[in-house]
């Protein structure tokens, strides 16, 4: 059995989605009902679909999966009248390195996710919902299946929900090891029993998603925010964050900090405060060197760039992305070349191979950076790294290519001296052959 995960909360947290974390039996429906659970759904049953979507729009909730697309707007794209069945799909693939929040939301409060799905189903008229969970999270499937069973027993799922005639069924579905399957269209392919290769878009899932039917697809955390939004009103949720960035979000602070963990903080919370006050500061009293603010796909920020509010717009302005909330903290001892190599290796391993620039670009980057790390490259090849990244950026079939190129380019550009220093080291005669093997 895997241990129950929970880090000591921080007094600076604003616990909306995580408020049941740490309660005894927080997974059970009884605990959930005793703490206001499914009230939002009952409320939603009294609202029209349009009213629900309006409320979500008012909350300024932006997708927590990485792209930060306004959720209410996305739901609004689902055609009202459609002869096709509609679906709700939860993206619980959580593959972005540095990110481990969805896991906690499902582990501690599965009913909150189910309630969010129910409200979405009500808003768009879907009758089936799937939770696509990465294969490694097997134990969560057990937790969720139990919660789903409870929800059926209490009448929150089924063919006649709470006697209203509403019909909604929820199923868990396991992935089997592929980061690309977190990309929404690849996820749908995988959910249909195929290779996790992305689809041409448009059409977007809202109009042609699962089995080419209209589909609402959101991240776990996005769905988990819905009950609070409906219960307390979109405005109240919006007010917790900054303009255009409503609510709180779960930040996964990892790396060289004293108290790594998942913390729920208002949107716009200052990054330095996050590191120093929430996560207990940099390990062993060392100096901060750099932070990846939103999972490994985001450009790195140097220490001096870190005094900034953590919302989608501010981080974008600083040249990076808020992404999926994975804050990776690196102290002064960190070898930036090694980090870049590791990131390159990851994307090379996960590129699905569909399109040319991603398939070949990630492979090239991995080899080239490995050589640089070994000190057997020409200094001019540092520019080549940047050029390869530029040649990938914005030109790949899906954003995985960007996700690979952006961080790597930022590492080379921002920490160029370190890469150059590597090339001044005495030459290693032969490259370590293992490090060049593509796996």
């Amino acid at each position: 059995m895997s241990p129950r995960l929970y880090n000591e909360p921080s007094p600076l947290e604003v616990k909306i989605l995580t408020r049941r974390f740490g309660l005894p039996n927080s997974q059970s429906i009884d605990t959930y009902l005793a703490t206001g659970g499914y009230e939002a759904f009952r409320k939603a049953l009294e609202m029209t679909p349009e009213e629900i979507i309006e409320e979500v729009k008012a909350s300024n909730l932006r997708g927590r999966g990485g792209a930060g697309f306004p959720t209410g707007m996305k739901w609004g794209f689902v055609p009202r009248e459609s002869p096709l069945p509609k679906y709700v799909v939860v993206n619980a693939d959580e593959g972005e390195p540095g990110t481990c929040k969805d896991r906690l939301l499902m582990e501690h409060d599965p009913h909150q996710l189910l309630e969010g799905m129910l409200i979405a189903a009500r808003a768009v008229g879907a009758e089936r919902g799937y939770i696509y969970i990465r294969g490694e999270y097997r134990y969560l499937i057990e937790i969720l299946d139990r919660a789903i069973g409870e929800a059926y027993e209490r009448g929150f799922l089924g063919d006649n929900i709470l006697g209203t005639g509403m019909r909604f069924h929820v199923y868990t579905h396991s992935g089997a090891g592929s980061y690309e399957c977190g990309e929404e269209s690849a996820l749908l392919e995988s959910l249909e029993g195929k290779r996790g290769v992305p689809r041409i878009r448009p059409p977007f899932p809202a109009t042609a998603g699962l089995f080419q039917c209209p589909t609402v697809l959101n991240n776990v955390e996005t769905f988990c925010a819905i009950p609070a939004i409906i219960r307390d009103g979109g405005k109240a949720f919006a007010a917790l964050g900054t303009p255009r960035n409503g609510g709180t979000r779960l930040f996964c602070i990892s790396g060289h900090v004293n108290r790594p963990g998942v913390y729920e903080l208002p949107m716009g919370f200052n990054l330095l405060r996050m590191i120093h006050e929430v996560a207990g500061g940099v390990r062993d009293g060392r100096k901060l060197k750099a932070v990846i603010p939103g999972g490994s796909s985001c450009p790195v920020l140097k220490a001096e760039e870190c005094d900034l509010p953590m919302d989608f717009d501010s981080v974008a302005q600083a040249g990076s992305m808020l992404g999926s909330g994975g804050v990776v903290v690196m102290d002064e001892t960190t070898d930036m070349v090694r980090v870049a190599v590791r990131i390159a290796k990851f994307y090379q391993h996960e590129s699905c191979g569909w399109c040319v620039p991603c398939r070949e670009g990630t492979t090239w980057l991995r080899h080239l950076l490995t050589r640089i790390d070994q000190g057997i490259a020409k200094p001019s090849e540092l520019d080549l790294v940047v050029e390869i990244c530029n040649n990938m950026l914005g030109r790949t079939f899906c954003p995985l290519g960007d996700a690979a190129a952006m961080p790597i380019r930022s590492f080379v550009m921002k920490f160029r001296e370190e890469f150059e220093a590597r090339l001044r080291r005495p030459m290693v005669a032969v490259p370590d052959p293992d490090s060049l093997v593509v796996s």
């Binding site: 396991s174 959910l191 990892s254 790396g255 980090v339 990131i343």
Partner: protein, 160 residues
Amino acid sequence: MRFSEQLEAKFNQLISAFPPGRERAALVPMLLYAQDEVGHLTPEVIQEIAGRLRVPVHEVDEVVSYYSMLTRKPRGRYHIQICTNISCMLLGAEQLLEHAKQRLGIDCGEVTPDGRFSLEEVECIGACCWGPAIQVNYDYHHWMTPEKLDRLLEELRKAQ
């Protein structure tokens, strides 16, 4: 080919999760669950699942070869998966992996001669805030150190 009763029940549940005519959708989890029971995806298992879902065998092969958790090669009874991705790496995952290789006397992708352990370097497993993290089969072990790994291997070596 028959599987255990629980697995048969699981298969039925997976298939019934989808509208009629969409059985293929159950493919990926079915493969994974079958692999969990049999150990690896043998040609017979692949054929059987292909037949049940009415998917051509070669299309199942395409799917199997895509997903990194699916394997046609036997693994050890305990499949040690060590995450070396960025968060874990910052906290010593690479040294942990080296340590594991030495302790087990095998490289990544190999199985110990007694068939008890196999080793794999994996990408982020969603345990970044509790790293370095490893998974033994589906069980997570967080905040790993070489010493903790030794103790764990010792336990598993003795396990029935």
